[in-house]
Amino acid sequence: MTPSQRRWVFLVAGGGFLAFYLWGLVGLPGFGHYPGPYGDIINAIAVSQTHATAVVSAVNFEYRAFDTLGEEFILFTAATGVATVLRHLREERDTSAMDEAMNRDVPATSDAIRMVTLAFIGPTIVVGWYLTSHAQTSPSGGFQGGIVLATAFVLVYLAGQFIVFKRLSPVALTDAIEAIGAGSFAAVGIAALALGAAYLSNILPLGSTPGAVNSAGTIPLISFFVGIEVSAAFILIIGELLEQTLIVREGNR
């Protein structure tokens, strides 16, 4: 196919796409005019039904908790896959790591980076924990909080201590925490089944005050389990990748 023919094929396809796209845009509801019924219904009933003042969390961890469970296991599977694939490669490279390290200069971490990252580790853990534990009261939740918690471990590495990062997050422990987080989420649902309710329905007392930290029944519990699962999965993925890139550096120490 000559370049000019290719250009014609593109122009026809692009023109057709543009026409259909514009046609579709014309049929959209106006900006800010949501036509579906579900949003309004949820807004009207969520706070009285779940005692969670963060309605998005109520949707995520209660009304569609089963979907969230599926999403959680996507991450779980991804982390398992990364760990499996990279573990094999690591063994392959282990023997050459020491030899390569002999003539390689490891750049020292600057004091400025060390200071800033060390200063940020504490606040990062606090923010991560706040996000994980306040899903029911304010916009947050286990997914965001979990990643922020895992970032604290990455800061430990950035402060220049890969060994410390590995010591703080041994693979066996991280694996176990990840599995406990994912499994406990599923177990909350099974507990509801055992009590004769629907899977993942809110079986715990809701608390008297909507918006209190100890309200909303299973929502903060599920958020907590999601939080530790997500942080463990992320630490595991980062740890495996760091080990891949830094195995030479580690051998030098």
């Binding site: 997914f143 965001q144 990455v154 993925i237 980062i238």
Partner: protein, 80 residues
């Protein structure tokens, strides 16, 4: 109605996405991707979606660029 802030940030996001595509050096691309994630987070905030803002901040601006940087480091090591 869209506010001036929303229009501004929409334009910035479009510019940021274009910049990510046009930058060809992978490391620079990852840094610009992180900034683009930050812009997207501001966009979601301007459209009153704080939950999505937090997700975008953690995943788009931090986690994804970090994973990509580590992958690049690994690839470069193999090329040496």
């Amino acid at each position: 109605m869209m506010t001036a802030l929303q229009v501004t940030i929409l334009v910035l996001v479009a510019a940021g996405a274009t910049a990510v595509v046009l930058i060809r050096d992978p490391v620079r691309q990852v840094v610009s991707l992180s900034i683009y994630g930050l812009l997207l987070a501001v966009l979601f905030m301007a459209f009153q979606a704080p939950d999505v803002t937090l997700s975008e901040l953690t995943v788009g601006a931090v986690a994804l660029p970090l994973l990509l940087l580590l992958t690049l480091a690994k690839v470069r090591k193999q090329e040496e």
